[in-house]
Symmetry: C2
Subunit: 460 residues, 2 copies
């Protein structure tokens, strides 16, 4: 057999033309979203004031196994996709492991991450419905950049609320987002009631994704012909992100391999959910049995230390309630550099799969060890990874080192979601030995759990 190439690209003709909806193969669905006004399960019409119609339908669709990717979105994908499946020969050699390590690299576009996959879809559907402006939140800035790119491309106005601590850590994100014609504000801001309320309580807060979501939703609801879009957590986002897994699945077919272990970093869950979707489909339908690991920061450990409960998706408590692993919508994580993983909750799909044991394991890792892995990886694979992605690298390396001990030649796949070019303050602090590893105490967590909502008959 000839050697597997370093990089496997699908041809344009091999690129997926349908997204895969893992819910169609789940034996049990996650508990329904609940409308916080009526405390009843949410319907499409409850969502349409916030998100556009097609996306509301996708959000609640549990039966369509495959959903056609509209031609316009396929064309947009072709501008920056397919992304490569890379065999980490150099990393393997440096580790001296018999394991075969692969990563799906989503960072080779200007947003620097996989976020563009869902941004393209969400902006397209909004534009098609005649929506003229959008609002969103962004953590590390990848989602904001991705959405600015897609909005610029399809011709829709955009306002981005960026978590303040990330806004200050990554000043150049602002310039990139502005270059693509969007407006960007640090959150909490004084432009919304939600923002003003939070600032009143804590004027020096670094903000959180939950808080930025509240601001974006409030603005969307109050502005005519405007909708809110979200870069993670939601079922629709995992649907769009299935393009990552579908390409990976096909690339593995091309090279005659299949992963034993699949690793993804998990903040809201968009990357892990997308990467694992078709492989999870294989598992749910009995075709294969890979081992799935979700990796989260020890500073924001929703899967490993959170509660599986109904909670708001945002700090301002204006969004629907979702059943998910959560630290509580009032939990504000420390100023961890992995901005994209600073979310109190977790995708309901991922939460359900984890709760039911199909997603085998969640692992929390500390920041310094994450950057150790990132620097090591950069040296041998020449890609400077985003801090978020580096959580997956840490665990991939740990698993490869286990193989070294046991002598097993496992095939390890991880998602390299993005590049760290806009995270150089974090690298600079790591290089200077000044990085902190704050882990929340049990008391910190109890405070978060205390604010979980009460739902008569469901969650008392």
């Amino acid at each position: 057999m000839s050697k597997v190439p370093y990089r496997t690209y699908l041809t344009e003709k091999e690129m997926p033309t349908k997204w895969y909806n893992v819910k169609a193969d789940m034996k049990e669905q996650h508990d329904p979203y609940i409308n916080p006004g009526t405390m009843k399960p949410i319907k499409v019409e409850d969502l349409t004031p916030i998100v556009c119609e097609e996306l509301a339908k996708q959000e609640l669709d549990c039966t369509s196994r495959y959903i056609d990717i509209p031609e316009e979105i396929q064309d947009f994908y072709k501008v920056f996709r397919p992304s490569p499946l890379i065999r980490a020969y150099n990393l393997e050699k440096a580790l001296g492991t018999p394991a075969k390590i692969y990563y799906k690299f989503e960072g080779n576009n200007t947003s620097g991450s996989h976020k563009l996959n869902s941004a393209a879809a969400q902006v397209y559907y909004a534009k098609k419905q005649g929506i003229t402006s959008l609002t969103t939140e962004t953590g590390a800035g990848q989602w904001g950049t991705a959405l600015a790119m897609a909005s610029s491309f399809f011709g829709v106005d955009l306002t981005v609320y960026m978590v303040k601590v990330s806004f200050m850590q990554k000043p150049f994100r602002k310039s990139v987002i502005e270059t693509f014609g969007a407006k960007i504000l640090p959150s909490p801001s004084d432009t919304t009631e939600a923002g003003r309320k939070i600032l009143e309580k804590d004027p020096d807060t670094g903000g959180s994704l939950g808080c930025a979501i509240s601001e974006a939703v409030e603005t969307a609801v109050k502005t005519p012909n405007c909708r809110y879009v979200l870069g993670s957590v939601l079922d629709q986002v995992l649907l769009h992100q299935s393009i990552i897994g579908l390409e990976t699945h096909k690339a593995f077919e091309k090279i005659g391999e299949y992963p034993d272990i699949i690793i993804g970093c998990a903040g809201g869950g968009s990357n892990l959910g997308g990467l694992m979707a078709p492989f999870m489909g294989d598992k749910l339908t009995g075709k294969a049995n890979p081992y799935f690991i979700a990796v989260e920061p020890a500073s924001c450990p929703s899967l490993t230390r959170g509660k599986y409960a109904y909670d708001f998706c945002d700090t301002g408590m204006v969004t629907p309630l979702a059943k998910m692993y959560t630290l509580g919508s009032q939990f504000i994580p420390s100023a961890n550099h992995a901005g994209g993983l600073r979310y109190h909750g977790m995708s309901p799909i991922i939460s359900k799969l984890y709760h039911d044991g199909q997603l085998n394991e969640a692992r929390a890792v500390e920041q310094t060890k994450v950057f150790d892995a990132a620097s090591f990886f950069a040296k041998y694979e020449t890609i400077l990874p985003a801090p978020e992605s580096s959580h997956a690298i840490r665990v991939a390396i740990d698993e490869a080192l286990k193989c070294k001990e046991t002598g097993e030649a496992k095939t390890i796949l991880f998602g390299l979601t993005g590049t760290g070019y806009f995270d150089m303050n974090a690298y600079a602090s790591y290089n200077a030995g000044e990085m902190s590893d704050y882990i929340p105490t049990d008391e910190d967590l109890e405070k978060g759990f205390a604010a979980l909502p009460k739902i008569p008959g469901i969650q008392e």
Copy 2:
């Protein structure tokens, strides 16, 4: 005929295994480098105290048409290559041009540019010879980053002198280069005689590539088992960069196209020289007749307003003399944001080809117009280009608009050498409408020419 894909990638098996040496097909060679000590044409042994042996040989090799790429370098290339040849469908549509626009995108690696192609080769040969440390200069920072990556990979120490104005404009380059384990200093620095001399004359100078070269060469010569490496200008660099053109040439074969116009930005000439090499070969051997355009900044117009003369490659006047288009080694360009194009001279190969009319045209463009083109391009092609690369975009757009007027469906190829992620200060200043367009006066240029060296019997 089926539609040409947006992105054409070679398979790993199709990747070039030899570099192409355009000099072997040139009817006349450029005038020889001259040793400033002896005023005689330079020999391999004159170069080996500064650069390693294999590279010195490559520098003076005018007869080997193809040179094998060592397997270790091929393996390194496979980590980040092949780069895609992209059909700019969206840009064409936005311009409403009948022209077919293609670009070879070299920015999808952590150095953010094509520079890694030569860095890989130069570090490999140094390591093979037993060299333990390297020095270099960097303008915009791409070359410094590329070399840090290659040095880290092959295990060689590195010190980078970065042009001070760029060092201050792009603070995060420092963190990237340090992440890959290299040392970086703003130039002029007080660590060399050359630097101290320049600082004495003008303590507030922003520096220049020429000055940074002097510092790097001085350090290399004074440090045991250390050599200097250069990211552009030299024949060896154009040889390594021919990988760009060779991949492009093969990709065009695959899609059944051939460019009518080939456009590259030109600072020292590494990108243009590499991109055009095999196409120039076609021209020199009568196989095809594409039209070549070199694009330079109006602020540093070596081809369009320089003299074709012998000159030092550096400000400190320690390097060999090269016959090239030059503004004079004492010319310090204004603080133009396109750091990589702030060089007083031009590759001797490119200079010769331009002087003899094979490189058809050189065009100088102003910065604001360059950023107009960059922003427009980003909107439709979703890639945020480096300011350097954007010079080529400007002219590609201008040529495509000419086609719109004439109705000609020309095939335009340009080199998109890199991404602008570390140039956000420049974009911020453009977005704020604060960008300047300084063009040197004739008096400025005369001052530079006055310092051209005298060479008895050759240049009086």
